[in-house]
């Protein structure tokens, strides 16, 4: 059951469209309501004990994927297979047993824990709701063990504290303990450290890494921070306007990528070195809307490699190197260019 390598979550052809709300008079005029293509044919698998990261800018659909895996929003199409069961086909009632197995940690620990509850109440709430404990003593024991796993030590001193007595990092660890206490197979983490100060970010990251190690839990993380994704994740997928444009081993996607969009993202990340490579803006214009995304490859209007084929045909996701997938007509040319230290075809040296 808990063997590493076994697939825990298998998402295939996931689609989520949101209909745009129209005024009454607009709807009288008829025609189709405009649709936001939040997630458009996304697929990935997460193995047991693996940290899988979805990265992308705002509007890329990464959080919608996460909400759909949780079945907080119903997918428009596709399957979300968790431990062999397609959650997309289940009714709300049938989903209930899976709710404990997939847990979530939200972005802002100042919002996600109730300020009027003690740490014990926050962490134990799920145990009582799901009838997983028969006595208070049992609950205390489970909560203490979860608090210990998130490094809130000595754990008994934290039990009856309120969130306002805790720092941001400690609150986020309480939120992780709340997920952990139900013994989940999969934890979804939505930007788990973006609200925290730099000096305490690492403590939350290290807690997530250690619970993965100790309990062999899989983690699906959403982030906009590629440097963080590289340090934390095993697998990394880059999303752009509802689609995965590149995915593979995290370090490889960051350092040895094929897609011009991934390259533009990496080039825009500042480095903590005043003499290092300066950041560059390699994607012209702005992110298109998800209501009428560009034809063909969605990145083509901003891409330095774009040619006619890019606006005519949507590039398929192909395996460029083992387990490393890319959706670009010109990934070979792009890769050669990037490995020469250039940013665009025939362009000058990026580092000079």
């Amino acid at each position: 059951m808990s063997e590493t390598g076994e697939v825990v979550l298998d998402v295939q052809h996931l689609v989520k469209f949101f209909e745009v709300r129209r005024s009454f008079s607009e709807s009288l005029r008829g025609g189709e309501a405009p649709v936001v293509h939040a997630v458009d044919d996304v697929g990935f698998t997460i193995k047991r004990g693996e940290i899988y990261c979805l990265a992308g800018e705002s509007g890329s659909g990464k959080t919608t994927v996460l909400r759909t895996v949780l079945m907080l929003t119903e997918p428009t199409g596709g399957s979300v297979v968790f431990e062999g069961v397609d959650l997309a086909k289940k009714t709300r009632k049938e989903l209930k047993p899976y709710r404990t197995k997939i847990q979530v940690v939200f972005q802002d620990p100042y919002e996600s824990v109730n300020p009027r509850m003690t740490v014990f109440d926050i962490v134990s709430e799920g145990l009582f709701i799901n009838n997983l404990v028969s006595s208070r003593e049992e609950a205390v024991e489970a909560v203490l063990s979860a608090l210990k796993d998130v490094q809130l030590i000595p754990s008994d001193e934290y039990l009856y504290r309120y969130p306002h007595e805790l720092s941001g990092g400690q609150r986020q660890r309480v939120a992780i303990a709340r997920a952990l206490v139900l013994n989940p197979e999969l934890i979804l983490a939505d930007e788990p450290v973006s609200m925290l100060d730099v000096s305490i970010r690492a403590e939350v990251i290290n807690v997530l890494l250690s619970i993965r190690e100790k309990r062999n839990i899989s983690i699906l993380m959403v982030t906009h921070d590629l440097a963080l994704a590289k340090d934390m994740a095993d697998e990394l997928a880059v999303m752009y306007v509802g689609k995965i444009v590149e995915s593979g081993p995290a370090g490889e996607v960051v350092a040895k990528h094929y897609h011009p969009y991934t390259h533009a993202l990496v080039a825009a990340v500042p480095v903590p070195d005043p003499e290092g490579v300066k950041i560059r803006v390699l994607a012209s214009g702005e992110i298109p809307t998800n209501i009428s995304p560009p034809s063909g490859c969605r990145f083509h209007p901003r891409c330095p490699f774009a040619a006619q084929v890019c606006s005519d045909e949507e590039p398929p996701l192909v395996e460029a190197s083992p387990n490393h997938y890319v959706a670009c007509h010109f990934w070979k040319e792009a890769f050669v260019t990037f490995s020469k230290g250039q940013d665009k075809p025939g362009g000058p040296d990026a580092h000079g």
Partner: protein
């Protein structure tokens, strides 16, 4: 000659629990066309510093002492009327934190910039409109978009409009308080390039306030690392990043993910930022410092010039450098 020089600036908040020493004895200078980066975590006083520099003080805050000299004029001793007439926005302007939400949603973007010009300068509406068009062009927005409302702009464009507005009276010093938070990374890169171009073209001095070490490294000529209302370290950015002297700087650099490096473990700084009502005795960083000794608890370290132009406030910086095997 520096365009801005700050001497022993202290700004405290009065609260029921006692005085919050948010800015507690800061000294620095900024020259024309220079970027000073101020790095710190939440609650270290960096945003209070930016408010003090504009003399936009909340009602419970007061400047206890020190000087803020902008082009020779002292903001601290100047009257409110004088600050309003001669200094604020003219000499020293600010891109506020969360600038994306700083625009009024019910007025056209161009009109808001025009208003800021006519309110402060003796120009006619026509002149102000022309100036607005020039400013928008400068920040990379097509002047025809002056007629748009804020909701028709993307986040990056709103931020650019705020930068245009802050430049409307050609200030010599621009304070940028977290100018790119909540922006996507590619948009952020565009704003960084814009600010650097402005500094080069107009000679504006920029004070960049941020929690992001990488962003500050990209933009700054000088860096100050701020902790609990004081500077822990101050020097040229190359000096501070290449030979960090203060244990807090070392800790921040170790906690920061660097995209160029292969997968690495990040190390957090234990504990959390101190309470500024009752800051720790001696060195304010001592409860979180891995090198702390008795002297750090007993005595506040001097802000000393450890290397030429490189200031640090730590009793043990020599020993720490030696133990880390850093030459020099």
């Amino acid at each position: 000659m520096p365009v801005l020089s700050v001497k022993d600036l202290r700004m405290y908040y009065t609260t029921m629990a006692g005085d919050v020493k948010a800015v507690d004895g800061l000294d620095f200078e900024v020259e024309e066309s220079e970027v000073l980066g101020i790095v710190g975590e939440s609650g270290c006083g960096k945003s209070s510093l930016s408010l003090a520099l504009m003399k936009l003080l909340p009602s419970n805050a007061k400047i206890i002492g020190g000087q803020i000299l902008v082009d020779g004029l002292d903001l601290v001793s100047a009257s409110d009327a004088e600050v309003r007439r001669r200094i604020r926005w003219r000499k020293i302007a600010m891109i506020p934190q969360g600038a994306m939400n700083a625009l009024n949603p019910v007025f056209r973007v161009g009109d808001q910039i025009v208003e800021s010009i006519t309110a402060h300068a003796d120009s006619s509406k026509g002149e102000a409109q022309k100036r607005t068009a020039d400013l928008l062009k400068l920040v990379g927005i097509d002047p025809s978009r002056a007629r748009y409302y804020p909701h028709e702009f993307s986040g990056g464009m709103k931020q650019r409009s705020m930068i245009a507005m802050s430049l409307s009276l050609t200030p010599s010093v621009l304070i940028a308080d977290e100018p790119t938070t909540a922006l996507d990374v590619i948009v952020q890169a565009g704003i960084v390039q814009l600010l650097l171009a402005i500094k080069k073209e107009l000679g504006t001095a920029i004070i960049l306030i941020s929690h992001d070490l990488s962003l500050v490294a990209q933009m700054s000529d000088k860096v100050a690392i701020m902790y609990a209302g004081k500077f822990a370290e101050y020097g040229s950015s190359v000096a501070v990043y290449k030979t960090p002297l203060h244990p807090y700087t070392l800790g921040l650099l170790g906690a920061f993910a660097d995209i160029r490096k292969p997968k690495e473990a990040l190390i957090s700084i234990p504990g959390s930022p101190p309470d500024l009502v009752n800051p720790p005795t001696g060195c304010r960083f001592h409860p979180r410092c891995p090198y702390a000794q008795q002297v750090c608890i007993d005595k506040e370290p001097e802000f000393e010039e450890a290397l030429p132009g490189h200031m640090v406030s730590c009793h043990l910086w020599r020993e720490i450098q030696r133990s880390r095997g850093v030459k020099g």
